[in-house]
Symmetry: C2
Subunit: 172 residues, 2 copies
Amino acid sequence: MNDPVELILKQWGQERPDLDVSPMAVIGRLARVVKRFDERLSRSFAEHGLDSASFDVLAALRRSGPPFVLSPKDLSGSSMVTTSATAQRLNKLENEGLVRRASSVVDGRKKQVQLTEKGKGIIDGALSTHLQTEHALLRNLDGAERQMLATLLAKLDVEGESDGLEKGVNSL
Amino acid sequence: MNDPVELILKQWGQERPDLDVSPMAVIGRLARVVKRFDERLSRSFAEHGLDSASFDVLAALRRSGPPFVLSPKDLSGSSMVTTSATAQRLNKLENEGLVRRASSVVDGRKKQVQLTEKGKGIIDGALSTHLQTEHALLRNLDGAERQMLATLLAKLDVEGESDGLEKGVNSL
DNA sequence: CAAATATAGCTAAGCACTTAGCAAAAGGCT
DNA sequence: AGCCTTTTGCTAAGTGCTTAGCTATATTTG
């Protein structure tokens, strides 16, 4: 038992035998896996001159289909970050020439963020690498296990009923 | 199908039918769940005047058992952050009077970070709230499902063989 | 033993996020 | 129409992480 999560559970069992720490087995493991996956995926993005945030934005534009236009508000929703973070991400991407911003004709408040040709080339290349990396990260699970995992996680990904206040994070 | 992850898969299927985007069903969901859990858990910590980073450090000291002493290096390992981040976390906790730092007698390089009485009181209170929150976050899974989820995640939490370079993050 | 190397802890600078708050445009209400 | 509220996008300031690089102590090696 040299697994860090198992060790933590054992320590709590000795120090606080009065508590049920079993939820940590799931949530602690979740945090570890995501942290490690993030680090690995970041390296794939870097091969294409991107970071996670930039990939996030470009992928959202790419999968929206022609003409590859979304508003900053849309992008915030799909990325689970604030509109402020999105504005800063777009500043960077615009400087790099991967997106361009234009004002909407029908609604003067809205901006239209569009993928440039250069941006489209970058994201299509990065996407291929990204999927290879994701596939490698899941190599220890067979098809049935992946399906099971996706299903279990989906059950955890629900708006917090009966849980007190909640932040409505997603909208897209 | 108003689920964001399902929508993303559908969009990719239309725009890039040549690609197998199925890994996103797992990894995208993982990222979402962890992000939401983090936000919820942060609110629990805040009830005790803590943030996630502070809870992380105090909990590691608490579960190590009397005399509640670890080195900064130990704390970095269990927290999956750099020693630099740990030093900054400790500065904050020391200012708040929740830990104290002393030099090791046997090895002048090492410091001994110890939980204060005040720190122990805070973490014991926060731990109780934390476990209640974690229990609530998992309310949609029964015992067998939690066990299954923990097992599947553990299979993903392995040092990356055949995956290129890796960072040895954990040691505790 | 002395010099080179490794280990431990830290600060400084950079980066991406957050919250707070501003400005412009749209929509609602009397 | 005119005011008030909402929506949208943004900048400024603050936070916590990272990498780079420093000092001090311990260990290894010639």
